[in-house]
């Protein structure tokens, strides 16, 4: 049942570091996080790693395994061939703190920049009525466990540090989409700010965010592209722009 596993684990901090070879036993059915825990308990007592639920629900144990952004708790050891060396590194889009732990504060800063839901005035708790079909789109995005793998894999910031200030990243595009599709949200400038402040136009829909999402949220198809289309409605479609002007005028009259 057991097999001997060869690993390369990145150890270090923001100044130095490198891959270290480790050999460790693995049992049937174990995931990479189990292996890291075994290494921790038997060989490297101070190996830093974030984790919480170990069930794919909290999004803490994000790291890169054989170069792919993944949750260590959802990555079966058995999915790698017997003779393959498994390379484990911290997320490469964020500054490293120690070993497999990175500084993900970028994401919390971006979260702060998006206005939260704004309910209509006069609606009291218990009064809202929403149909299931109207909340379903937003519900998909609220499945997000904030593992930030999409943020990590997105080349806009992974490969271009300087874009971090002007680009919110896939996790926050689904947040904006969630709010823009919320049946009761009253804030009407979310499309405009998505494009002008949060960098929606930087996304070139190459879909890596969707590929790595452990919750299988269809980030690109269901959030980013619909938001891009909504932005076109408002900013780039002369006919719709004209239409909205005329309608507005009718509203005033």
């Amino acid at each position: 049942m057991t097999r001997t596993l060869k690993l390369r684990i990145w150890r270090g901090d923001d100044k130095t570091g490198g891959l270290q070879d480790v050999t460790v036993e693995a049992n049937h059915g174990e995931v990479v996080l189990d292996i890291i825990h075994r290494v921790q308990a038997t060989q490297m007592g101070d190996l830093a790693v974030r984790w919480n639920c170990k069930a794919g629900k909290c999004g803490s144990c994000s790291m890169e395994i054989n170069g792919k952004p993944r949750l260590a708790c959802m990555t079966q050891v058995a999915s790698y061939p017997e003779d393959e060396v498994i390379t484990i590194t911290p997320l490469r889009a964020f500054p490293v703190i120690k070993d497999l732990v990175t500084d993900v504060s970028f994401n919390y800063k971006k979260a702060m920049e998006i206005p939260t839901v704004s309910m209509p005035e006069g609606v009291k708790p218990g009064e809202p009525r929403m149909q299931q079909i109207d909340v379903e789109r937003s519900q998909e995005f609220r499945k997000c466990i904030e593992c930030f793998l999409c943020q990590d894999t997105c080349h806009v910031i992974r490969d271009h540090e300087e874009n971090k200030k002007s680009f919110a990243g896939p996790r926050f595009f689904i947040r904006i989409a969630e709010l823009d599709m919320h049946p009761l949200d009253t804030l009407r400038n979310r499309k405009k700010t998505a494009q002008e402040e949060h960098g929606l136009g930087m996304c070139n829909i190459t879909k890596c965010c969707t590929e790595v999402c452990p919750e299988h949220i269809r980030i690109t198809d269901n959030a980013i592209i619909p938001m891009k289309e909504r932005v076109v409605d408002e900013k780039y479609d002369p006919l719709r722009w004209l239409g909205s002007k005329i309608r507005k005028r009718e509203g005033i009259l």
């Binding site: 901090d13 049992n27 049937h28 059915g29 174990e30 995931v31 189990d34 921790q40 308990a41 007592g45 101070d46 190996l47 830093a48 790693v49 974030r50 984790w51 919480n52 639920c53 170990k54 069930a55 794919g56 629900k57 909290c58 999004g59 803490s60 959802m74 079966q76 703190i97 120690k98 070993d99 732990v101 993900v104 919390y108 979260a111 702060m112 206005p115 939260t116 839901v117 309910m119 609606v123 708790p125 218990g126 809202p128 009525r129 929403m130 149909q131 299931q132 909340v135 937003s138 519900q139 609220r142 499945k143 997000c144 466990i145 904030e146 709010l179 919320h182 299988h216």
Partner: protein, 627 residues
């Protein structure tokens, strides 16, 4: 310490799960400055693991529901050991707390009329659980997290600084509640990232640290569930109540080994999942206790009919309270009718179509498919009991959540005791967090307004700092990881789901031994994000909790809810009148019996007298509640 990071707040909340965040929102809304301290990143708290839903008698699906029915269910589920006032407040306030979440952006599943949908759950008479698929806890934590952000955005607009009056200190461990002049003065701890120490001065501290599951070997809890708040409160001079009551969730995964203990939501049974043993027998019919005979179906036909007609049929026994189901599974496995991996079968594939399963139980499908290679739309799951929740906890005043015995200390959520009695109903936890999180916030506000600041002295600081330095000063001492494993073996084998007096005595001796050895833990590496170092502190907390549980369990000579004694199998009405209070003198935990508050007449009268006769002594019945 020259480079000690120092902060001063009105209120410090320890724990950023549902209860902690709700307390923080309440205190900030009242104009106070609040620090939220948590061991993980913001938004990762164990609340995300709650799957089924949040129980609140909104009556959206069945309008016969109201707070009185919910109150009755809660008391019944807790075998009448609950603090009546907590159960009452909870039942009354839960709907408001859910509706408030919706105003903050939560998107619950809907009924046809567009109201919040509610689902059935074990022990609840009506469909009562507001839910979002099977990820309700995630919805709750995210909504609270976003509410915190909303308040920070407001502060940013008004003061130019988002974090001026409400700041989250993520990845910080609190090692001590500081006191001056007998009252709470703040909290001391260290940043997990850097190992650097951090001081919070605050007249009020709210403990909302959750549970103790990591004390046990098989648990649904994450690494954070190490009883920190329980231990911090004990050390600060507060009491724990009824620590013998631990809920073993009947359905945890049992295979493969690496996922053993991970929760399988009760909604699987709520949606029609049935339990069978290796003989294919639907065994739950054999385990309906007398007190529930009139509420649960005793034959398959009626149980199956219930799913379509709930008014004219009794509920299937799979939906009995969790303690009953866990014990039943345990008995089946012990009798040799378990599965290959020591569980029983839970099957939902025969009743629901693949499409509906994936829609209603998406994360379960996902979890089994990815972690166990089992497609639950086609095959049965293998499940067995897993340590899930601690009913016991800090003894508090129900209305304010103030910890009894320590001025300025508050506790809410799983870390507080009393609300759930000897057994918690599924779904009551999430609303517990919200109802008592808010009340703890209100309590803290009230307290701060009437007491004002209580500065921390240098002597107190140096004492707290010395404790953190200690494990680095030693070399060649004990390994925290192995001590933790030893503790888990002891609790699993001797303080687990079925207990005996002899085993508990043995456990108490062994736990004391580990505690002695743990004083000699040494740590390799430096302070920077060092898990071995972190575990040394967590372990100390777990040892106190384990001691408190074992000692309380030894004293209670009956079986009730989350406490089963092989040598005292029955429930005993005399024991119902007793709470076990743990306190700590710096050396060891001692337990004393304390009379349970008597049910007031207006609540007493909510029950059928024949039902109460099953739980209460004739003298109590004759008295008819207090006036």
């Amino acid at each position: 310490m020259a480079n000690l990071e120092k902060y001063s707040y009105d209120v410090v909340v320890i724990g950023a799960g549902g209860a902690g965040l709700r307390a923080a929102v309440e205190a900030r809304d009242a104009g106070l400055s609040v620090a939220i301290v948590c061991k993980s990143l913001f938004g990762k708290a164990h609340t995300v693991m709650a799957e089924g839903g949040a129980a609140a008698s909104m009556g959206n699906v069945n309008d016969n529901d109201n707070w009185m029915v919910h109150f009755r269910d809660t008391m019944r589920g807790g075998k009448f050991l609950n603090h009546f006032r907590m159960a009452e407040l909870h039942a009354k306030e839960a709907p408001d707390r859910i509706w408030e979440l919706e105003m903050w952006g939560a998107l619950f599943d809907r009924t046809k009329e567009g109201k919040i949908s509610q689902r059935n759950f074990g022990g609840h008479e009506y469909p009562r659980l507001a839910h979002v698929g099977d990820r309700t806890g995630l919805e709750l934590i995210r909504t609270m997290q976003q509410r915190i952000v909303a308040l920070q955005q407001k502060d940013l607009r008004e003061t130019g600084d988002a974090e001026k009056n409400l700041k989250v200190f993520a990845e910080v461990t609190i090692t001590e509640i500081l006191k001056e002049n007998g009252k709470v003065a703040g909290a001391y701890g260290y940043r997990r990232e850097s190992g650097e120490e951090i001081l919070f001065e605050a007249p009020a501290v709210v403990i909302a640290t959750g549970g103790v599951g990591k004390t046990f070997k098989i648990t649904s809890n994450s690494w954070e569930g190490t009883g920190d708040g329980h231990a911090l409160a004990l050390k600060a001079g507060a009491n724990l109540v009824d620590m013998e009551f631990l809920q073993f969730h009947p359905t945890g995964m049992v295979w493969p080994l690496s996922v053993k203990g991970i929760l399988v939501t009760e909604s699987v049974r709520g949606e029609g999942g049935i339990l069978t043993n290796s003989l294919g027998e639907r065994f739950m019919f054999k385990y309906i206790p007398d007190v529930f005979k009139d509420k649960y179906a005793d034959n398959e036909e009626e149980a199956d009919r219930w799913y379509v007609d709930q008014d004219n049929n009794r509920r299937p026994p799979e939906l009995l309270p969790r303690d009953e189901v866990a014990r039943a599974i345990n008995s089946e496995v012990k009798a040799g009718r378990g599965t290959e991996h020591g569980g029983v079968f839970l099957d939902v594939s025969k009743r629901l179509s693949a499409e509906i399963i994936k829609k209603r139980l998406p994360s379960m499908w996902h979890q089994f498919y990815e972690l166990a290679g089992v497609d639950i739309t086609k095959e049965a799951m293998e499940v067995g009991p897993t340590c899930h929740y601690v009913m016991g906890g800090v003894e508090v005043e129900p209305d304010t959540a103030a910890a009894v015995g320590v001025d300025g200390l508050f506790a809410a959520g799983e870390v507080a005791g009393g609300m759930h009695g000897s057994n918690r109903l599924g779904g009551n936890s999430l609303t517990d967090l919200l109802v008592f999180g808010r009340r703890a916030g209100m309590g803290a506000v009230e307290y701060v307004k009437s007491h004002g600041a209580n500065p921390v002295s240098d002597a107190t600081i140096s004492k707290a700092a010395a404790r953190i330095e200690a494990p680095f000063a030693r070399t060649g001492g004990e390994n925290a990881y192995s001590l933790h494993q030893e503790l888990q073996e002891i609790t699993h084998n001797l303080v687990g789901i079925i207990r005996t007096g002899e085993e508990l005595k043995e456990a108490i001796v062994k736990i004391a031994d580990i505690r002695k050895r743990s004083a000699n833990i040494s740590v390799t590496g430096d302070r920077k994000f060092n898990p071995g170092f972190h575990l040394a502190f967590d372990l100390d907390n777990m040892l106190l909790v384990a001691e408190s549980t074992a000692k309380s369990a030894l004293l209670r000579e009956e079986s009730r809810g989350g406490h089963t004694r092989d040598d005292f199998p029955g429930m005993n009405s005399t024991w119902r009148q007793v709470n076990h209070i743990s306190s700590f003198d710096g050396e060891q935990v001692s337990i004393k019996a304390q009379p349970l508050p008597v049910l007031p007449k207006e609540l007493f009268d909510l029950f059928d007298i024949h039902e109460l006769e099953k739980y209460m002594t004739p003298a109590e019945i004759a008295k008819g509640g207090s006036n």
